[in-house]
């Protein structure tokens, strides 16, 4: 009789389920909502609201008097006419492109070093941790270290090194090469991101591929070229997009190292918006510059996703079978 009893119990349960269905659905929705609520509230409060405010602000001429006097497209026209904008735009392009190359390229190099050449897992981990340290340091401390390192007097560390090596006179590094300094400083700290992503990806390539390539006669360089890079296509693309976007909007190291100077020599668009809003208290104009940045960011994202093929990236794993 056992199967019959079991079956009747199942039928009874089905009926109960049917009854509960509507109530259950409502309950499920509430439950899901309650789990999402804290995060949703945060997003609305700290992202959606500021974005909308900024967008509205961009069409106003708000200044230190904090009055909403709407001026239409005046701010945007002013951006187009602003004599420093061409330099700021060029700086932004140089900063984003070169820092991104260092971030991704150097990150890849570090990943190959620590995950491919160093076979010992704990040694690799040690070096990766070392490279992560700047990321764990507060930005201000990191920037200060660079400022001390590049100190223009004869007591600056780089000056001491150059003096002892080439007997060179002290050099004002930041003043003379502001863009190079911010690109290098940003590149060094940003490389750890690519390093983590890429080394995890290298570790996940099945060992057999390396063995097959070794037996097929590939040396280390050929293995990197023919195995590692093709397998890392998607992580490389992801890191490139991610870094491009975050570099477009980040300015804290520039602010701390050069503050955009000398004059506008290292001013980038995000720092420009910051300066307009919080140094000159031209909130409306600052908001408009920020809006331009958001639009550029969105366009670049769309373009890159199209270029790399987002749908294909989202397909199931590209590794192995």
């Amino acid at each position: 009789m056992a199967p019959v009893t079991e079956r009747s119990v199942m039928l009874e349960r089905d009926a109960q389920l049917e009854e509960k269905n509507l109530f259950q659905k409502l309950k499920d929705t509430c439950q899901a909502a309650s789990f999402l609520a804290p995060f949703l509230i945060m997003i609305i409060l700290f992202f959606a609201v500021p974005v909308i405010l900024t967008a509205v602000l961009a069409f106003s001429g708000m200044d230190f008097k904090l009055q909403w006097n709407f001026v239409g497209l005046d701010n945007f026209i002013r951006i187009l006419k602003d004599p420093v904008i061409p330099q700021v735009a060029a700086n932004t392009l140089v900063y984003v492109v070169f820092t991104c190359i260092i971030n991704v390229g150097f990150g890849f190099l570090l990943a190959v070093m620590t995950a491919y050449f160093i076979k010992n897992e704990s040694v690799g981990l040690f070096f990766r941790t070392l490279w992560l340290l700047p990321r764990m340091t507060p930005s201000v401390v990191y920037a200060l270290l660079w400022i001390w390192f590049l100190e223009p007097t004869e007591n600056g560390m780089l000056n001491i090194i150059f003096k002892s090596l080439f007997d060179m006179q002290p050099h004002n590094w930041i003043q003379d090469n502001p863009m190079k300094v911010i690109i290098f400083a940003n590149g060094m700290i940003g490389a750890s991101f690519g390093m983590i992503v890429f080394s995890a990806a290298i570790k996940s390539i099945p060992e057999d591929y390396f063995r097959a390539a070794m037996v097929d006669g590939a040396n280390d360089f050929q293995i990197i070229k023919n195995i590692i890079i093709p397998f890392l296509k998607w992580p490389i693309m992801f890191a490139t997009i991610w870094q491009t976007l975050s570099l477009l909007t980040s300015y804290e190291y520039i602010l701390l190292l050069t503050d955009g100077g000398p004059l506008f020599d290292s001013e980038v668009l995000s720092l420009f918006a910051y300066h307009k809003a919080f140094a000159n208290f031209e909130f409306g104009y600052g908001a408009a510059s920020a809006m331009v940045l958001v639009i550029i960011g969105a366009l670049i994202t769309l373009l890159m996703l199209k270029l790399f093929g987002y749908e294909r990236m989202m397909n199931p794993s590209k590794l192995g079978n």
């Binding site: 099945p206 057999d208 590939a218 093709p230 590209k318 192995g320």
Partner: protein, 365 residues
């Protein structure tokens, strides 16, 4: 090309993967490295490939010590269980890869890729990516990639275990044919005794990093040197009975609580009873047991279950507490619980020392 291992040991930290291996593969021989997982067979293969270096000892190809020769300079072809086909390259590019690295001319590459591809019958698949191929086709591509270099030695690491049963049987024969046609050395790593028995000229059977025996399949099957080999080779596996050896009135008996069997006169020639211990393990293959009417010198058993295999029937019986397997003719019929008598083919029994696990068979001259 001869492959010679001389006192080869491979350690990973404190773990000894391969323990003092001494073995010699003949020129053009098909050798299987057989053993359960973790026995050191893949480590041995990777040492031939040069991917692992021995911790001590020497590996030689003919007279040349290979310990420090890089994989790319060894002229080996290798197939992997996962096939390890480069997913971003087409079949053609995959097969051409080793040649491209050798900087051969385009025409030469094309010619040799076509040759290798036709040899394994994948000439029509050259434009596809590995992801678009079935398991069997991928297997052929990996064979072609290994063959295209015209290697002196081919290493196969569990090449068939990802294929379905029918395809596996086909590929078994094809790989063996390929090896015979090319006349090159092949080393096959497998945990599947059927693969080893059917394909290899000689089998090196390994356990816990130690070589148990290296011999032709028939010899390993007929005269296993120790309990491990007896247990590992043969399907269904050999039956084992713990027994005590006793001598009564000039005759030898093996007995335990439930059985007592007289060993025939001839067994004195096969086994060395004088120097062995009294605690033995009697081994007998399922096909060397017969169900009979006779009660003389037989085992009394109870039918546990009968499994028809098509060609014959596998009868599971219980003697005392333990279960044993017998191959019976297809017409045999019995119900669970029936009492039967089982006679042994005494010419085919195996006796092992219980402590040392070695066979007490006399060495043949």
């Amino acid at each position: 090309m001869k492959v010679i291992f001389e006192n080869v040991t491979k350690k990973f930290g404190n773990f000894t993967a391969v323990d003092n291996l001494n073995v010699k593969f003949k020129d053009g021989e098909f050798v299987a490295l057989l053993g359960p997982s973790g026995c050191g067979k893949t480590t041995t293969l990777l040492m031939i490939a040069g991917i692992y270096k021995p911790s001590s000892g020497k590996i030689m190809f003919d007279d040349k010590v290979m310990n420090d020769v890089l994989p790319k300079n060894r002229n080996i072809g290798m197939c992997f269980q996962s096939y390890a086909l480069y997913p971003h390259m087409t079949v053609f590019e995959n097969i051409a890869f080793p040649l491209k690295l050798k900087k051969m001319s385009k025409d030469e590459i094309k010619k040799r890729v076509m040759q290798a591809a036709n040899k394994v019958e994948i000439g029509h698949l050259l434009d596809r990516k590995p992801g678009q191929l079935s398991g069997g086709q991928q297997q052929r591509v990996s064979l072609a990639r290994a063959l295209v270099k015209e290697p002196q030695i081919m290493l196969l690491d569990e090449p068939l275990s990802n294929l379905d049963a029918r395809l596996r049987i086909n590929m078994r024969a094809e790989i063996k044919k390929l090896q015979k046609d090319l006349g090159i050395n092949m080393v096959l790593v497998t945990h599947d005794q059927t693969e080893a028995l059917t394909m290899a000229d000689r089998i090196a059977i390994m356990n816990n990093g130690k070589l148990q025996d290296f011999d032709i399949p028939e010899e390993l099957y007929e005269n296993p040197k120790n309990l491990f080999i007896a247990n590992f080779i043969g399907n269904p596996p050999m039956n084992f009975i713990d027994v005590e050896l006793v001598e009564e009135e000039g005759k030898y008996f093996v007995k335990n609580e439930v059985i007592k069997l007289e060993l025939p006169e001839s067994s004195r020639e096969r086994f060395d009873f004088s120097s062995c211990s009294k605690q033995l393990v009697l081994g007998i293959r399922p096909e060397d047991l017969t169900i009979t009417e006779s009660k003389c010198n037989t085992l009394q058993a109870e039918i546990y279950v009968v499994e028809p295999l098509g060609r014959d029937k596998l009868v599971n019986v219980v003697i005392g507490e333990r279960k044993y397997k017998i191959i019976a003719p297809p017409k045999f019929n019995a119900d669970t619980g029936d009492k039967v008598n089982i006679s042994l083919n005494f010419a085919k029994i195996h006796l092992f020392d219980k402590t040392s696990e070695g066979s007490i068979r006399r060495n043949r001259v």
